[in-house]
């Protein structure tokens, strides 16, 4: 009888650290009526478009007013050569509270590093020299790499088969929305979900 209890207790530190990591990549009020999990790949052009065009509106209309809790999830696709490296840098920068800045920089300069492969140059452009060193070290840390892996496994469990995919969660029910989207329609949908 005691064995399951010990097992649960031994898993507790892992759960706590996972929750902390998630918070570093999450924005808004955790008890908001909606949760939006965004599975994204830094090297995917549609993810870039979503990040630069629709995400600011989502942040303004839902995340900032406390209507939605946004959680970033890494989903680097195997066909994108530098996506996993970019995801590792992003997760590493989350550990020092710079996820948003680094994600912005990675998407902004995606066409450049995608071609030349100099991912860290994009990351470094928004970090101080001290932070650059920390991020470079953290990006090789097994816990950061396993965080990327965990996000990917989570995506596979949710049957994410393209990027970007938004998983809108309301009262435990999940609604997946894949690919590029029309913000007017998304807004109508989110408003309808909130009013339920």
């Amino acid at each position: 009888m005691r064995l399951p209890v010990y097992l649960l207790l031994s898993l507790l530190p892992c759960l706590v650290s996972a929750a902390e990591v998630d918070r570093a990549k999450a924005f808004g009020n955790p008890s908001a009526p909606l949760t939006i999990e965004l599975f994204s790949d830094f090297q995917c052009p549609s993810c870039r478009a979503l990040h630069m065009q629709q995400l600011p509106s989502i942040m303004r209309d839902y995340v900032t007013p406390g209507k939605a809790y946004l959680i970033y999830k890494e989903f680097p696709l195997p066909m994108h050569q530098h996506a996993r490296e970019a995801a590792a840098y992003a997760c590493a920068s989350a550990r020092i509270g710079k996820y948003e800045q680094v994600a912005d920089a990675l998407f902004q300069s995606q066409p450049v590093w995608e071609e030349k492969g100099n991912v860290f140059q994009a990351v470094a452009s928004v970090l101080s020299p001290a932070d650059q060193k920390k991020v470079q070290t953290l990006a090789k840390d097994p816990s950061v790499l396993s965080e990327v892996e965990r996000d990917m496994q989570e995506g596979q469990l949710e049957r994410v088969n393209q990027t970007p995919t938004m998983l809108i969660i309301r009262n435990g029910k999940k609604y997946p929305i894949g690919g590029m989207l029309n913000y007017d329609l998304l807004k109508r949908f989110l408003d309808e979900l909130i009013s339920k």
Binding site: V160, N161, Q162, T163, T165, P176, G178, G179, D184, E192
Partner: protein
């Protein structure tokens, strides 16, 4: 020999018709149980319709699919339902191929949200289209094919509508 062939064609007709009917009913059910705006977003992603048309199609298409599925399953208005199924699947398939060629990373929208257009979805929808076309062709032919039926002795003609009625049971 001819009778055996007729039976095979009839069995094939029945099988394809029931399968297509089930697929249409399932596709409708999946869309109707989810919020209709999710389907609207899938349609909009194809970037072929203005927003008012997207909203209209999102509200009505699942019901059309349901009606078509029931008609196919029940075997009513066979020619009409098989032509409608072929036309609808032809439209879906062309739009999917267009999106795939253009490199659009979008949801197929075929059976609810969360299914990206891929070679697999194209193969599946292409097979459905082939089935619907086969059903349409067979629905306009009598079970024995297009060969002239053997004329009864004495040269009495078989009424034309007996061949073209297409209401053979399947």
């Amino acid at each position: 020999m001819n009778s055996f062939r007729s039976k095979v064609v009839s069995a094939l007709l029945l099988l394809v018709r029931l399968a297509l009917g089930a697929v249409f009913v399932y596709a409708a059910w999946v869309k109707l149980r989810e919020p209709w705006l999710l389907f609207a977003m899938s349609i909009d992603a194809y970037q072929v319709l203005p927003q008012w048309a997207v909203l209209t199609v999102a509200r009505t298409l699942p019901w059309l699919e349901l009606a078509l599925g029931i008609l196919l399953f029940a075997g009513r208005w066979r020619r009409l339902s098989s032509v409608a199924a072929s036309a609808l699947l032809m439209l879906f398939f062309s739009l999917m191929v267009r999106a795939y060629i253009r490199g659009q990373t979008i949801d197929c929208g075929c059976f609810g949200p969360g299914e990206a257009i891929s070679p697999l979805t194209l193969l599946r929808d292409g097979s459905l289209l082939a089935g619907a076309l086969l059903l349409t062709i067979l629905s306009f032919r009598r079970p024995g094919g297009l060969r002239t039926p053997p004329q009864p002795a004495g040269g009495a003609l078989v009424p034309a509508n007996a061949v073209e009625r297409g209401d053979h049971s399947a």
